[in-house]
Symmetry: D2
Subunit: 128 residues, 4 copies
């Protein structure tokens, strides 16, 4: 079951074409990422204590429909791919059943500023 995040669209997020400005989808995906890490049993407290620092390496966004003021957006967050040193999450932004944007973000595991393989137990939790 995916982690979910949801919010009414804010007036400040809509541009003068009356649709949500594209950068805000990345903000929403970032908000949804907190619940996604938590759904894998990974809290920031634990990651920080173990000096595991996931860095955002890349994001892709594909839009299929606009969100507007008055809409409530829901973001479903799911693990898409786990690599040796990276993980990609998929964030599906939708208004009801209408998908507006799919965001994919790849995080790389770093420790003291260097890329490093995920510890086995972290990788296991991301995969399950």
């Amino acid at each position: 079951m995916p982690a979910q995040w949801s919010s009414p669209v804010r007036y400040v997020e809509c541009d003068q074409q009356g649709v949500v400005f594209n950068a805000h989808y990345l903000t929403w995906a970032d908000e949804a990422s907190n619940g996604w890490w938590a759904s894998a049993g990974l809290s920031w407290a634990e990651l920080t204590e173990r000096r595991i620092d996931p860095l955002v390496k890349a994001s892709t966004l594909e839009w299929s429909a606009p969100a507007r003021w008055g809409d409530t957006v829901t973001v479903d967050a799911e693990t898409e791919r786990v690599g040796r040193t990276s993980v990609t999450a998929r964030f599906t932004v939708r208004v009801g059943e209408q998908v507006c944007c799919v965001v994919r973000t790849t995080y790389v595991c770093s420790s003291d500023g260097r890329p490093t393989p995920w510890p086995d137990d972290v990788r296991a939790r991301l995969t399950s």
Copy 2:
């Protein structure tokens, strides 16, 4: 002579009524405040080293005309009033000669989290 900050209005800053959303005027005043502190000869490095932490206590905004995409806004920043533990700066946001908004922000001097009088030399620089 006032400190100045200037920027083209960004598309993301305009709402679906085609005018700059009100909260962004506070962001612009904040950007202009850096030059204003510097114009008083007060750098963040010095303030930090001396453990002087100016806290934003209050802001007021009065709008008189909208700014729009395509406009370049200029903010003139000037000292309005210096108190024993506070200082108020006035930020005039304009497009050419047309004033759009006047922002006044009051900072209180704090040290280790407590309000404290400005050191004499700091007060002198704010006043001059």
Copy 3:
């Protein structure tokens, strides 16, 4: 009973001092204003149809405590003063019982771009 708006603080809203950047309080008050107008029985649809356009004339903000990532902010919105052509709403932003900021925003009634007195029925609804 005041109109309420609530939201978890977003990561993007916190600055490098680890507290919510001041301009976002104005954004939250704006979001809360929708429920406040609605609580007076005034929908944008009705206002638009009757060509009543409330313009934001002034805002004041007074901070008393910071909000942080992890907090959920609640905004209580209440009518503070109704004038012949204006109305002032008070937005109290709090985290639990701790008040972080009080925002007051004054709207002036305009029609076709000119200030105009509130229609009697609108004024009555704002006052009640």
Copy 4:
């Protein structure tokens, strides 16, 4: 020669890790896109008059270094690929010579809400 856009990093753009929050790179690329369309001789006025509406279809972002408060970012905007109904622009965000992020955005040509091939003269200008 690429179109360029440049701005000092704003305080509001930095998060509590002291680096620019990822969504703002998309905002900067959007700002840079205006100069890029203009550099192809395509003004919004002309596009609007001819009912050519370029829609943002997809964006990708790859980060290689953080930008921070105090930095000035420059965005170089260049055409990467022109298709029958789409065009991809590449936005290289850098601080001095240090590349922070490469953003690629694909626009599709639409008219009255439907994808449509670029008119020949528009395609020629995008390609040259």
